[in-house]
Symmetry: C2
Subunit: 342 residues, 2 copies
C-alpha cells in the first residue's frame, strides 16, 4: 500500500541518477523511463542497471547494442533491451500512466512553457497522480498556478522545483525560518564542481549559462556544444552566478515565508575540478518573537555532489507528494509547502 | 477555510510563549488555554496580551486580580478576566473541543504516561482533530504508537515531539539526510542560555535535570525548587548533558532515516547568562549514492532563544498537522514524517 511506482521523463544526468538513487529507496519502484527516441516500461520494475548502462554508453555485454550515446543511431533508452524505439515517448508513458503513481519530469532547458504543456498532456489523458519537476525558473511557477483548478479537477498533485535549488535548499530555508516570526533575507549560495560529471550534466550546465546576465534560455538552448564550451573557456572554467532567476524566491513567497524579493540565489560552477569551488550554504536571517535578529545556516558537505543533492530530494518530495495525492490533496505545491508551515 | 483554531494545555513558559508567537502567525487563532486552576475559552479568539499579563504576574490594571503567580490564590490563568476557576481544566477544554482544530499539550515534567493519558481523555470524549506535544522522552513515543489504531478510528492526528529538540532539530536532521542514501550518524548538540528566562522555564530546566545520569524523571518531579537550585549550583550554573534520552532517536528511526542508536543528543545549559554557551548544531553524516561520505550541518544563530526555537516549530508542525487531519490522515506522526520522505 505504501509502495510508490514512478516514471522518469528524460534520461539525461538527472533522470538517470534518479533511477540509480531509487535503488536505495524502500518502496519506490521505477516502472517507466523515456528519452526522445525510446521508451521502457515494466510495471513490475525496470532493470535499472541495464537501463543505466544503455543510456550511459557503457552497455553491458548482454545489452544487445553497441553505440548508445544520446547522439547517433540506437541512442539512449532505445538501446536498452527493455525499451522500444518511439517517436512519441511522452504519449507512450501517458498511455501507461493508470498504473504510475508519480512522474518525474527531468527535462531541463526547454521553453518556459514546456513543463506546463507536458502537464497539460497528462491532464488531457485523464491522468490522476503526481507530477514532479526540477525546474529552476521563477516564471514557470505562475504558469503552473494558472492550472491549479485543472489539476484539482483531475486529481493531480504537482510539485514544482523539487531538485537541489530550488528544492532541497528551498526546504532548508523554509525549515530554518521556523525560529523567526519575520524573515528578512534568504541567501542561497551553491558550489558545483563538475569535471568528471560534466558529460552527464551538459543540460544542467547549459541551463546555468542561461542564468548569466548576457544570455537567456532561448540563447542557451540554441547554442551548439562548441558555443557552450566557448563560454566556459571565457570564464576559465569557473563561472560565478549572481542574482539568478531561480524559483526559490517565488516558492518561498507562496509558502508565506518571505517576499520573493528578499531571496537571493547565486553560486559558482567549476568544470575544471570535481572539488566544489565554494560551500553550498543557505542563510536565513530573521527576527524572533522576542525581538532578536539572527541568521540560521544550513550547509552541505563539499563531498556531496550536485547529483546527490538533486536526486535524493527529488525522490523525497515525490514520495511526500504521493502521500498528499492519496489523501486527496491536489493542485500545485512548492517544496516549502511540503514542510512544516510558517 | 484555512483558519486554524487551537488550544493550549498548560501556560508555563512553552504554553505562554506559544500564545505569544501565534499573534505573528496568519490564520492561527488561539481559542482556549488552561493551567491547573483555571481555564479561558473564547471561540472568537483569546485576548492573548491580557492572558499573558495574567499568567506572568504582570496583571494589567483592568485584570481584576493582584497575586497571579502559579502558586497561591488567584494564580495563573484564573487571574485572567477571560477565565474561570476550575478543578477540571482539561475536561473543560475537552468540552469545547468540537470547535478546536488542534490542541497543544504544553505540560512538561509529568509521568511518562501523562501525555498518552491526556490523549485518551480526548479520545473518550469523541474528539476528532490534532493533538501536538513537545515531549522529549523516547519511551513515550511507544506508548503513543500503541494508540495508533484508536487515533485512526477517532480521527485524531497526533504529532509527538514537536518542540526544538525533538522537533525543529529532528526536522533539520531529516532534511539534511536527503543528500544521502545511507545515514551513518546524527549528532544533535544544543546550547541554551537561560538567565533572565529562568523563571519562565523552570519546568524545562527541571526536565533537563531528569536527563542527568544520576537523576530520572520521578526524582526531578519530586525535587523542591531549592533542590533543583542546589543541583544547578553544584555545576556552577552550567550543566553539560551527554547521551540524553531524547526522542529524536526514535523519531528519526520511525521516519526510516537511521537507526535510533545512530542518534546522539547532548548540550549545555547555562543559567548564569543569556548568551548561549555553545552553538546549537545538527550534524548528519552519511554516504551519497555515488559513494562519498560527508556531513551536512544545520546551525541556529546564537541569538535565537530556546523559546523561539520551540514555539515557532511547535506551531509550524501544528498547522501542518491540521492540514493532514483535514485530508483524513490520522494516527501518530513524528516531525520528520511531516518532511519530505527519506
Amino acid at each position: 500500500m505504501n509502495d510508490v511506482t514512478f516514471a522518469v521523463l528524460g534520461t539525461g544526468g538527472i533522470g538517470r541518477r534518479t533511477l540509480e538513487v531509487s535503488k536505495h529507496k524502500d518502496g519506490l519502484t521505477p516502472v517507466a523511463a523515456c528519452d526522445r527516441h525510446g521508451v521502457a516500461v515494466d510495471h513490475d520494475g525496470l532493470d535499472v542497471d541495464e537501463l543505466l548502462s544503455a543510456t550511459e554508453g557503457n552497455i553491458a555485454s548482454d545489452g544487445g547494442a553497441s553505440a548508445v550515446k544520446e547522439t547517433g543511431e540506437m541512442k539512449g533508452v532505445a538501446a536498452s533491451t527493455q525499451a522500444v524505439s518511439t517517436d512519441t515517448p511522452i504519449d507512450d508513458i501517458i498511455a501507461e500512466s493508470d498504473d504510475i503513481d508519480a512522474v518525474l519530469i527531468a527535462l531541463p532547458n526547454f521553453e518556459h512553457d514546456f513543463i506546463p504543456r507536458v502537464a497539460d498532456r497528462f491532464v488531457d489523458a485523464g491522468y490522476s497522480g503526481v507530477l514532479v519537476d526540477v525546474l529552476k525558473r521563477s516564471r514557470v511557477i505562475g504558469m503552473l498556478d494558472e492550472r491549479t483548478e485543472t489539476f484539482e479537477e483531475s486529481g493531480i498533485t504537482f510539485v514544482c522545483g523539487a531538485g537541489a535549488t530550488p528544492g532541497f535548499l528551498t526546504g532548508a530555508a523554509a525549515l530554518a525560518a521556523q525560529s523567526f516570526v519575520e524573515v528578512d533575507e534568504v541567501e542561497i549560495w551553491w558550489g558545483v564542481g563538475l569535471k568528471s560529471g560534466y558529460e552527464d550534466n551538459r543540460g544542467t550546465v547549459r541551463e546555468d549559462i542561461a542564468h548569466l546576465p548576457e544570455y537567456d534560455i532561448n540563447d542557451a538552448r540554441e547554442m551548439s556544444d562548441e558555443e557552450i564550451a566557448e563560454v566556459i573557456d571565457e570564464h576559465d572554467g569557473v563561472i560565478e552566478f549572481n542574482d539568478m532567476e531561480h524559483a526559490d524566491d517565488v516558492l518561498l513567497e507562496r509558502a508565506g515565508i518571505c517576499d520573493a524579493e528578499d531571496v537571493t540565489v547565486g553560486g559558482i560552477l567549476d568544470v575544471t575540478s570535481d572539488e566544489k569551488p565554494t560551500t553550498t550554504t543557505v542563510r536565513v536571517t530573521g527576527t524572533t518573537f522576542d525581538g532578536e535578529r539572527g541568521t540560521n545556516t544550513f550547509q552541505l558537505d563539499d563531498n556531496t555532489s550536485m547529483e546527490a543533492n538533486v536526486n535524493g530530494p527529488a525522490l523525497g518530495y515525490l514520495k511526500s507528494a504521493v502521500r498528499r495525492n492519496r489523501a486527496g490533496e491536489y493542485g500545485v505545491f512548492g517544496p516549502a509547502e511540503l514542510l512544516p508551515q510558517f
